[in-house]
């Protein structure tokens, strides 16, 4: 028996596998048993009802997809009245992702969402499709600090902060979020991208820019998780290109406490369940009793730094 549970601050997840915001809804209970997930993560909610971006909202690329949804939704009232109760039927903690244009509204929204059935507030300060420069507050250290501080002041719920892979210096931004009171860093949102159709010379997405989602990107996000893990004390959730149990292990070795999954669930609606099962089997095979042993366990302290010595080792 492997203990797959992990702790993120005060919250215990029965296992480190959860869906990524925007790639999930309670409606997936049609195909998988939601009670098996580490957490339930709702689609990012904004205050007002929003239609979202013009279609097409998705285009396939060489190795993945770009998408630009534009945070559609029925607004916070409908969310609290109709959607939170849907999630409340299930056991795993409910993470509610939130986005707003201004810091004030962000904080106010977080406060309004701090109802008993909501277990965690995830501040999505990194949606790349809300403007054309690669994201929101998470592109800047100071904006991140100010925004998280304002939210922190308005809610006592665990506060997770989703960062942007489009930022140049994610470590400083992560540190700013930690300083401002974040309980956990979610790394990362999608990569701002563009596809132009060569038949009609037009952008493939109705919104022109979109976020790239692809297993190919995992090594970039993994590097970010690794760098941030060395710089902060709060836990990290790694999101980007997880498609199999070994990817969960890899993120945990790099310093993540849990992972979020988007693409793999689109590709295989039952993927999250398989990944949880495989992770348990993987730990079992290796005699790993508690999955938490993997967190930050990368062996990076005795690397061979002499090129001549390294190049005389085996392949």
């Amino acid at each position: 028996m492997v203990d797959l549970s992990v702790k993120i601050g005060a919250i215990t997840l029965q296992n480190p596998v959860q869906p990524a915001s925007g790639a999930f809804s309670w409606e997936y209970n049609d195909v998988i048993d939601l009670n098996r997930l580490g957490a339930l993560v709702a689609k990012t909610i904004c205050r007002e009802p929003r239609l979202g971006n013009p279609t097409p909202r998705m285009a396939e690329t060489e190795a993945g997809i770009i998408q630009s949804i534009g945070l559609p939704g029925k607004g916070i009232e409908y969310f609290l009245d109709h959607i939170v109760p849907e999630y409340a039927k299930f056991k795993p903690p409910l993470v509610v992702s939130v986005n707003a244009e201004t810091i004030e509204d962000f904080a106010a929204l977080a406060e309004e969402l701090s109802v008993p059935d909501v277990d965690v507030i995830e501040a999505n300060i990194s949606c790349p499709t809300r403007n054309q420069t690669g994201g929101n507050f998470a592109m800047h250290e100071d904006y991140t600090r100010d925004c998280i501080r304002a939210i922190r002041a308005k809610t006592t719920k665990p506060l997770w902060v989703k960062l942007s892979p489009n930022a140049g210096d994610i470590v400083s931004i992560a540190k700013a979020a930690e300083e401002a009171g974040a309980d956990c860093l979610v790394i990362a949102n999608t990569f701002l991208s563009l596809k132009i159709r060569t038949d009609n010379f037009r952008p493939a997405l109705g919104n022109k820019f979109g976020g790239l989602v692809s297993p190919a990107l995992k090594p970039i996000v993994l590097r970010m998780v690794y760098q941030v893990a060395k710089a902060v004390k709060i836990p990290i959730i790694g999101i980007g290109g997880v498609t199999k149990a070994e990817d969960v292990v890899e993120y945990m070795l790099a310093g993540a406490t849990a992972v979020g999954i988007g693409y793999a669930g689109f590709r295989n609606p039952t993927a999250l369940i398989t990944i949880i099962d495989d992770l348990e089997a993987w730990c079992n095979e290796r005699g790993i009793k508690k999955v938490t042993e993997l967190i930050g366990a990368v062996r990076d302290d005795d690397m061979e730094m002499d090129t001549l010595v390294a190049a005389s080792a085996g392949v």
Binding site: A23, E27, V31, E60, A245, R267, P269, A271, D278
Partner: protein
Amino acid sequence: MSFEPSDKYTDSALRIGDTDPYPQRLVGEFIGTVVSNDWVNPEYKHLILKVHPHALKAYAGQMFHLLCPSPDGAEVWMRRPMSVYRVDRTEGQVEFLYKTEGRGTRGMAKLGPGDDFNIAGPLGHGFKLEPGWKNIVVLGRGVGLATLAPLSQLAAEHGVGVTAILSARNPDVVMSKELFEELGAKTITVVDTDNSSAVENVETILEDLIAKGKADAFFTCGSNRLLKLMQRLGEKHHVPGQVAMEQIMVCGFGACYVCMRTFKVDGKLTLKRVCRDGPVFNMQEAVGW
């Protein structure tokens, strides 16, 4: 020696004969076995897939989300939605009729007997026959006929009469005629080559069917022109109708909001998810495309 992690994407998909660890599921991810995958004309193929019994719950207008194999060595990254063309409960098979278009369907066209094929579904709301409807009119063109075809099965099961108007470029590429007729439907073929497929002619046919009491409801898919026609006549003669819509999809479960289409509900334009609010919608609400 390097340890090579399991390099195939994981799946808990159900194969024929598997016992389901989550039997209350409404939707499954299935790995079926291809029975046949033959050309029905130069553009369309007909795939028959043996599947786990849970997949046989599918009914007319519902869809599966297909994990198409690669046509060329590079991966196909997203599933492709496809209406169920026929469900054969005795043989334990679901069938698809599809047009080879881009990479997904070209990859699908490569499947041969015995191959695995991963499908998720059944998804969405399909066609519904209201009690009291005795005769319905089905009007489709091209790939839309693949979506409409299982209506013949549904109608037969409910003892409802069907007139199917099949529109095509030329008589050689008319599809689903046999399937409709086999199940007792009356078919009318209209083609571009003799201009019988012109809206005016189809309108005459429809007016005639309405007059004869053969049109308690309208069903269409695949042509905006024909949708508009049915909407107009349906409004005029108070014939209710259903239309199956298409849109590019990601999740198929209603979660991602990629598959939006515009609808007019109570006089107001709004967006709906084709995958979950549809793919079959109230015909009068559809804005068309």
